[in-house]
């Protein structure tokens, strides 16, 4: 079973990468100059109080010991305690993760649906005026700073037209039985609209350009010509054969885009007061809350690495040449 063996080696590689990222992260946060808790030790503290506080966070031990403890805790899913909020980092981040994921996925689904359709359309209209104006336009959307776009959308659709609320995930004081109830409520959609749109406008470019160039490649394949010779309808030729094949790499890019998008969220969540992982990272870094920043960073990194793996898996799953080897 070379299949299994390949998966095993992939998993091992993944574990190694994860370990390396974790180690870099640890060193990054511990080797920076100054007392990591400087911002949290109240000036009125006695030396003993300061030492007690350092001990509480395990900062009094030698570096290598801290590292081992850190690794050990990680294996048990522990991310330590936040300096600022004085609560377990993992717990705090887990409450924010769903918000970030729903924003990421909804925006990417919109972006990919649009990007795939528009990309296929542009490939079909190759060389037309539509294509010649659309391509630079698409490139321009990728050149926009996301926060700028977000602010402009906020000004237009929220401040000026008043169509959407200006921030948050729900009306003030509204309570829902569960996250699921919130996410499926109509109000939530209106709160989600602007941040998701901002991210979608930025991220539709990748699937669009990818789909287009794949389509152009696939359209030159023999089986597409054959489909025509078979007298199949245009729809069958373009959609069933050309688009279906062009879609493969686009779908795998989806997984990778999830990783990239999580990073874009850092900015957009701040613009739209979205209680997510990205904003938390920014807050934690600016407040020198190292355990929290480290945890948020790690969580994003894990998603990125996992998504790289899922991209591989997805490809082998969607391409029968690999799945039916």
């Amino acid at each position: 079973m070379s299949h299994l063996k390949a998966m095993a080696s992939r998993a091992l590689q993944l574990a190694l990468v994860l370990w390396a990222v974790v180690t870099i992260l640890f060193l990054m946060f511990r080797l920076m100059p100054g007392n990591p808790m400087a911002a949290y030790i109240d000036p009125t503290f006695t030396v003993e109080q300061q030492e007690a506080l350092m001990a509480q966070f395990g900062l009094d031990k030698p570096l290598w010991e801290q590292y081992l403890i850190y690794l050990g805790n990680l294996l048990q899913g522990e991310l330590g305690q936040s300096f600022r909020y004085r609560e377990p980092v993992a717990e705090r981040l887990m409450t924010l993760l769903p918000n970030t994921l729903i924003l990421t996925f909804s925006s990417l689904i919109v972006a990919y649906t649009f990007g795939i359709l528009a990309g296929a359309y542009l490939a079909w209209r190759r060389g037309s005026v539509v294509e010649n104006t659309a391509i630079p336009l698409v490139l321009t959307t990728r050149a926009m700073p996301e926060f700028w776009l977000g602010m402009v959308l906020l000004a237009v659709f929220s401040f000026w037209l008043g169509w959407f609320p200006a921030g948050g995930t729900r009306p003030a004081g509204a309570s829902y039985d569960s996250l699921w109830a919130l996410y499926t409520s109509r109000e939530f959609l209106s709160y989600l609209a602007l941040p998701a749109l901002t991210l979608a406008i930025y991220s539709q470019g990748l699937p669009l350009l990818l789909m287009r160039s794949n389509m152009l490649d696939v359209m030159k394949e023999d089986f597409v010509t054959m489909a025509r010779i078979k007298g199949l309808s245009n729809w069958s030729v373009v959609v069933r054969h050309a688009a279906r094949n062009a879609l493969l790499p686009v779908m795998t890019s989806f997984a990778i885009a999830v990783g990239y998008q999580l990073q874009g969220n850092v900015v957009v969540e701040s613009v739209f007061s979205w209680p997510g992982l990205g904003r938390e990272l920014v807050n934690a870094v600016s407040a020198s809350d190292y355990p929290l920043a480290q945890g948020a960073f790690l969580m994003i990194a894990v998603v990125v690495i996992l998504m790289n793996l899922i991209a591989d898996l997805l490809y082998s799953l969607l391409d029968p040449r690999i799945s039916h080897a």
Binding site: T140, V266, S270, I305
Partner: protein, 298 residues
């Protein structure tokens, strides 16, 4: 395609020829023209900008020249809430944008090319090691990395460049490695090796010139990345407050409620400048792609 047998012209000419600028693609030419304009602006910023971008300005009646609309009291694009000249900031912003963009691009292209060259040419454990390093770099979320770095180091526009040099060589490195792998198996490389050329010489004379366009392609993508990243970082408050960049201007504008003041003249021009420079990079990239991978066609 390969000019290995040509007599040696001047280094500069050789360099530019091996860059193979995509001059037949109209968009790429537009991109290069935009670059040219901004580069000239950056060079002659002192002559173009009427004020120092950080200078606090006053009106003729000795009031702070704050929130003036374009044209008022002779300020072309008006002034900021703290009484700085917006036009001068735009002009000087060009400098930091290009400085960040070009150095980041250079670093990314240089490191990526060296990694790709070494990895692809020598193979073996060097290759394995470098490619695992690339895997690790791929596992590091870039923007969070920049934020953390910017928070630890003193705020500076170079943080973005450092972060890019540390992380973003990964894409360039991988692509160039695979290019080197195909080049290495070409007959003229074998010929050079048989004729006793040293590895260093083979890399320098036969392989490097052929990957230069690829490096340049990834470099021009990196320019955009760097400028956008710097803007995001500034917006989040981790930027360098000492040097005027477009990202800093936008941050300043939003922090001063430019939207509520409807000060379009304040937050639109820096955004447009960023879009122009970054998409210029993309246009050039596209020109390259058509040149290097003509099968994509259009």
């Amino acid at each position: 395609m390969l000019d290995t047998t040509l007599p040696r012209p001047g280094f500069v000419a050789r360099f530019f020829r091996s860059l193979r600028l995509p001059l037949n693609d109209p968009f790429a030419v537009a991109g290069l023209a935009i670059y040219a304009i901004f580069i000239l602006t950056a060079i002659f910023a002192d002559a173009i900008a009427p004020y120092d971008p950080t200078e606090i300005l006053y009106t003729p009646n000795y009031d702070l020249a704050a929130d003036l609309r374009p044209g008022e009291d002779g300020f072309i694009l008006g002034t900021t809430s703290l009484g700085r000249d917006i036009f001068s900031q735009i002009v000087y912003g060009t400098r930091s944008a290009l400085l960040i963009g070009l150095t980041a691009a250079f670093m990314v292209a240089l490191i990526g090319s060296i990694v790709g060259l070494v990895s692809g040419y020598f193979g073996g454990w060097v290759d394995a090691l470098l490619m695992r390093l690339a895997d690790v770099a791929f596992g590091i979320p870039f923007l969070p990395f920049v934020i953390v770095l910017a928070a630890f180091l003193e705020p500076s526009i170079w943080n973005v460049v450092i972060a890019m040099a540390l992380v973003l060589w990964r894409d360039t490195g991988r692509v160039i490695r695979s290019q080197v792998l195909t080049l290495r198996s070409r007959s003229y490389v074998d010929a050079a090796r048989v004729s006793g050329s040293s590895d260093f010489k083979i890399i320098l004379r036969h392989i490097a010139p052929n990957i230069l366009p690829l490096s340049f392609l990834y470099g021009s993508i990196a320019i955009g990345w760097a400028i956008l990243t710097e803007a995001s970082i500034s917006f989040l408050g981790f930027g360098d407050p000492q040097s005027i960049s477009w990202g800093y201007m936008l941050q300043d504008a939003f922090a001063s409620q430019a939207l509520a003041k409807q000060a379009y003249y304040w937050f639109v021009p820096p955004g447009v400048c960023i879009i122009l420079v970054v998409s210029a990079g993309f246009f050039i990239t596209r020109g390259y792609e058509n040149l290097l991978f003509p099968k994509l066609g259009r």
